[in-house]
Subunit: 320 residues, 2 copies
């Protein structure tokens, strides 16, 4: 980790004290991390960036920024079946972030990476306009990575957790109705990818993706990469109590294109139903079978209980 | 690499076409990269971030942004003796960056990573306020990483290239006197860490660091981490013709605290002088012995030819 004067130095010192030294991070004082090979394992690597005003609001608590940064990045590893191990953070300090803000951020960041058994391996801190990017590294047994491209015709389609709560919480916050944000819908402020469950997917899931852009857009990615169609039964999509109340009034569309779920969607052969149910139970993970992989089409179709297909205005969150 | 609609999709497509598919990047279409262990080697990892208005100017060419992003990140690997191998980019697109800008950036970025034999392994693209962060991965024989902490009393101190050109070019650009930027001083627009030379430092350099904050600040890091003092002879610091002209008028201080050099400073036992000279010659690298590691002090002292110590107002660039 770069070591520089004034506030930057204190911030890095704080992170170092909170996140600890590991063999890989060279005590966070050598500009680089150094990792040794782990026998019979590959490294899975992903990076996620968040920007003030785009992925979090100007007034959001530093805890929320830290949780969203770590949760969104870990979500990609988890969906691939990898176990999070270490990360490097690029941090663009906003001018409005004072010492107290930075301290609270450092504390929440340390808690979050600890939650996922990750170490801080390094980073770079600059004066920016409120951004952060986290590069995460996870371990997976050699050759076992679960890609987007392996879905087979006839596979079941599953999702973990509930869908749409990140969207609901984001909207409530945008409308300054934070007091309306219930615990069940606060996936926005505290993304919780199913990391205890996901390594059970190795050798079982044929294709997998994290739901960040929205269920529709992300299942489309599986369709495109696996050259298949997917049919989802709308009334089987798992909703929280807030989600059900919203869907009753406004329909389910916004929930499945809203994004920010950070859950895992995957496909698996019907022969694995029992094994998956056991894995979900043993890790206390909500797991729902929501559809089938079918021959027809090259995108995901959402079927209502009357058999009609839902028309979606958009497929997911536009990031650019 | 995340795959998202509209411009983001086109930008990623362009990068994919220019940077190519590799076994590690899963054809840049799976949110993650996957790397397998390389026998008897460690991975050295570093991240560097740049922000519009801070590390490059609003009107800078996309080529300059790409070169500074890649050069500054690779510089850390090079200083540790590692061979660059692959990278992941977090990209926060500024609103002012149109399709043409993005295209030129992608082309320059592909050229730069190719120059260092690096592949693009993944990334994340968001709408931001003009930032980019690059996480670079390099290979080094197991246990051979060159740290900041190994300098011994009596070691020689070396630098590659010339010092102060990045500063001179930055200043000329800030004063809108770009026409005054000579080729010799354009380390700002085109950082060129000595990556062909640096792997010769393995088993020779006792401590090493890249000069990004400024020669003074970065040698201080070696002092602090190696628990030693360093004495640099000012008239031995290698300057370009522009640097010499500047120093004649204004003295050398700004050149040694200005930063943006992206050269390597290292220490080595005097018994290795001949071997280092040969390595420099064979890789066409300018290499200069500028001082000694000494017992006294815990920071770098700059000695003029009359024996007096230079007083520095600051030690380096403040990033935060």
């Amino acid at each position: 980790m770069k070591e520089r004067p004034i506030k930057e130095f204190e911030f890095i010192d704080r992170l170092r004290a909170l996140c600890g030294e590991t063999p890989e991070n060279l005590a966070l004082c050598d500009d680089v991390a150094c990792i040794t090979p782990v026998k019979d394992h590959d490294w899975v690597i992903s990076v996620d960036a968040i920007q003030k005003g785009r992925h979090f609001r100007d007034g959001d608590d530093p805890e929320i920024v830290a949780r969203r940064l770590v949760g969104s990045a870990v979500s990609d590893l988890v969906a691939k079946g990898a176990q999070p191990h270490g990360c490097l953070m690029a941090f663009g300090r906003d001018k409005s972030w004072d010492d107290q803000w930075l301290n609270l951020f450092a504390e929440a960041f340390a808690r979050e990476i600890n939650h996922y058994n990750m170490a801080l391996w390094g980073g770079d801190t600059v004066l920016g306009h409120g951004f952060a990017a986290l590069t995460v590294h996870g371990l997976i047994p050699s050759g076992k990575i679960i890609r987007r491209s392996g879905a087979n015709i006839g596979d079941d389609v599953y999702v973990t957790g509930t869908i749409g709560d990140g969207y609901l919480s984001r909207i409530a916050r945008e409308e300054q109705a934070i007091e309306m944000v219930t615990h069940s819908m606060d996936a926005y402020a505290c993304p919780r990818p199913p990391f205890a469950f996901s390594h059970h997917l190795i050798d079982i899931a044929t294709a997998s993706i994290d739901i960040s852009d929205g269920l529709a857009a992300d299942l489309d990615h599986i369709c495109r990469n696996s050259s298949c169609g997917i049919e989802v039964f709308v009334d089987q999509i798992p909703l929280s109590s807030s989600g059900m109340a919203y869907a009753k009034r406004n329909g389910v569309e916004a929930l499945i294109i809203g994004g920010d779920d950070y859950q895992t969607a995957f496909t698996a052969a019907p022969t694995n139903r029992e094994m998956l149910a056991m894995a979900a139970q043993s890790t206390n993970t909500r797991l729902t079978r929501i559809g089938k992989v079918c021959l027809e089409g090259s995108e995901c179709v959402f079927k209502s209980s009357d058999g009609s297909a839902l028309h979606l205005e958009a497929r997911g969150f536009e990031h650019f």
